[in-house]
Symmetry: C2
Amino acid sequence: PRNFKSKVINFARSLKKIGQDDPRRVIHSLKVGIALTLVSLFYYSRPLYDGFGVAGMWAVLTVVVVFEFTVGGTLGKCLNRGCATLLAGALGVGAKHLATALGKRGEPIILGGLVFILAAGATFFRFCPKIKQRYDYGLTIFILTFSLVTVSGYRVEQLFELAHQRLATVLIGAAACMVISIIIYPVWAGEDLHKLVASNIEKLANYLEGFGGEYFQCMEDKEKTKNSVLEGYKSVLNTKANEESLANLARWEPGHGGFRLRHPWKQYLEIGTLVRQCAYRLETLNAYLYPEIQASLEFKCKIQEPCTKMSSESSKALKAISSSMKTMTDPSAAKCHIENSKAATKDLKLALETISLEDVEVLAIISVATVAAILEEITKSVD
Amino acid sequence: PRNFKSKVINFARSLKKIGQDDPRRVIHSLKVGIALTLVSLFYYSRPLYDGFGVAGMWAVLTVVVVFEFTVGGTLGKCLNRGCATLLAGALGVGAKHLATALGKRGEPIILGGLVFILAAGATFFRFCPKIKQRYDYGLTIFILTFSLVTVSGYRVEQLFELAHQRLATVLIGAAACMVISIIIYPVWAGEDLHKLVASNIEKLANYLEGFGGEYFQCMEDKEKTKNSVLEGYKSVLNTKANEESLANLARWEPGHGGFRLRHPWKQYLEIGTLVRQCAYRLETLNAYLYPEIQASLEFKCKIQEPCTKMSSESSKALKAISSSMKTMTDPSAAKCHIENSKAATKDLKLALETISLEDVEVLAIISVATVAAILEEITKSVD
């Protein structure tokens, strides 16, 4: 029992942490609760029930399935669901008419055949990457509605009324979701993407800032300062999937904040790719941070100045880019830092010509500086 | 119209390619069609319709929503859906009793409050990473069923019968999905994961195999041989999300093929991480493959032999590991290749002591060889 109790406490703590990490999550939960309660209460009231009947439950179903964390996700699902229901409903009614015209006996066979063909076809379409990205949910709903309409159409005689009711209730549910998700503390996928990319650049900058000092400090202090700043960049390595899904969702969103409609979300993905490439280089560089064999101190001294300057200047440049992205201004401040870091690179080359070997980590820094420079130029063109 | 026609043709071609790339996709589409048609026909037959009534459409709904590409996905969703429906149904009936006991006027208020609390709570739980990984779908269904039961419970008097019917039809749909997905050409997530990891290792091996020759060949041929083998490793960089989702699905699967129940799926993720780290180093190395400034030919000659040997031996070692993973045997053949590549590393060090500078790419290779060696030792312990 004690073990169980501590597990419960741990679980409660982790829940609390999830809420504290991002308070929007708590708000989102409350929003879902509100939307669902509203739609349910709507259904409880007798006059509306008489109008829609059992179809009212479709409104509930829509709210539960459609409400997503970001506005883009909710809108995308709503539009997908609305269009798919309309199209599949119309096709379903058409299929029903066709089947009835061909006689009572052939009806199940024809309907069954149509369901088979459409279901198999739509499922196959879902494997197409472009369609999967944006219309995956719509295709599921398409199969669902079509088979429901044909199946229930076989029994229920008032097919048109049914389709009309279902569409109306789906619209009510979808409208409730859209309004609530946009009005009450909206979570914009576009904003999240913007912040994610900016913070990723900042993480790289933090790493570079810390690296110079860390690498050239004397041995004794090393143990205690294996600090967490230098671990931050690791989370950048695997952000691709996250960025792509956010960019996907952002496409559904109307203009908001500083973003216009048709904001260039694709360019965020391009910056993201560059940032990751830079992170890959840092990962390689990081392997040399705590080498097993120490390079000679003498050698280190000679290269210390240009190296430290390179990493700190690239770091400053990245920070300038990141903050200019956040405020959406022109990153002109970054330019001089890039120039400085390029100059430092040249200094280093001069210094190296007088000495030799074991310059692994230094040359790795050069690559980082180069990447930083490239990154800069592209970022400038974007913002 | 011409533009449109060419677009349609392009689209058809891309669809054909999707089918050819993985014929299991076509089979999967047909499987969904079969399952859906079976359940629909089942619903058409009058005796069964009399037994279940309109609730039969829940079987259709279940099939559409639950049928996934992999067996693990389908089983996981079925189990989630079954348990969630059962639990939420019971809670819903309980809530209904409670509300009725408290009188006619308070009923909507109490039910509305309960829906709000449970919906907000369950939505919040979904943010917990561990729960999201495995029970996300179950929680959605839980909210859905609970609100549907309480909402419809307010009107329909035969609540128990309704719940019973719904559960029975959901079970029928789920059973159809499970049987069809397991019996007809099953797609096992575990097998896919196994193959993915093995093929990733092979891709790295291919890169290393090609690298030695590519880097040390003379300038003229370079343009034509910018070959695709050297691009293969890039796809390894971003496989994390894919591997994780497959490992997740694999957990739901019963033992099959050469895999036992409770196969160590987690270790695949660990190998995957190591493989990615190695790929990051290759990415850095790749930047030096087509340098703007050529190193002196003389210098290149001196290091050519050990470098080529290092990369080809590490490549052979990785290939041995990959094939031993595929056949699930002990990777003893890899050991001697590792020894060879370590010996080559030593040779290189000796060669380097006699010359100096511009040894960037060489030292990068050393790191690769080291990573390969580490990778090996860990893989050995796993398989």
